[in-house]
Amino acid sequence: MNIILVLLICMALAGLWAVMTSLLLRAAIALALTSAILTIIMFRLGAPLAGVFELSVCAGLISVVFISVISLTHRLPLQEYLKRRQSRISRFIFLPFILLAAVIIIFFIHKPILVTLPAMGTITEVRSVMWDVRRLDLFGQIMVLLAGVYGVLILFKGRQ
């Protein structure tokens, strides 16, 4: 439980870093760190397959996409950067206070949660659930992937 608590605190801090940092590259790295910590939490809770997906896709592929997009943009002049940084600080200064207020509110509203465990016949094999119970989701995923490929093709066709 203590390890989970430390991991959750690290994840929230990494997310806060991703939001508050003024450099986009650092924000992308912080996002990858958030994904990596989420992966460790998934492994600790007994979800290795989802953890592997999270690590390879979210911490890997999406970070590469973000860094590629950032590298295709140019740097701001120093004067402009300092000006925007000052503006950012004034906009994001309230976030830690809002987070603190949220923690206090949750502390006051929390009530006991009673959970009924599932019956003995529940399927515990991921492959069985994926291929037998949630088969329609796979069709949805394929459709979304094809739509994404089509969208990217349309975008790059428009560039020529």
Partner: protein
Amino acid sequence: MVIDFSQFFWLFFTFVVLILIEGLYCILVTYNLMRVLIGLEILIKAVTLLIIVGGYLSGQMALAQTLVITVIVIEVVVVMVAAGIVLGFYREYDSLNVRNARNMKG
């Protein structure tokens, strides 16, 4: 069989809410299109964590993992297309400032 999971649930719920607020605040306050995408990613991370915790508490981890895989696939497609749109926007306006979108046709 009924079990009291109060401490475990509220611990995770608190952090899920905190991460949701971080992502939402990032989307609401920023003017940079890349930061909007990063805020969206953080929101999806919170939802993923909530699904896993739900699966852990209800004892249906297989179903939760399947749902998380579906979420990740959709997340990748959304980020790919959004990154393409951001790049197109940057080439058109030479800036990632979302306020330039006011000059768009339509």
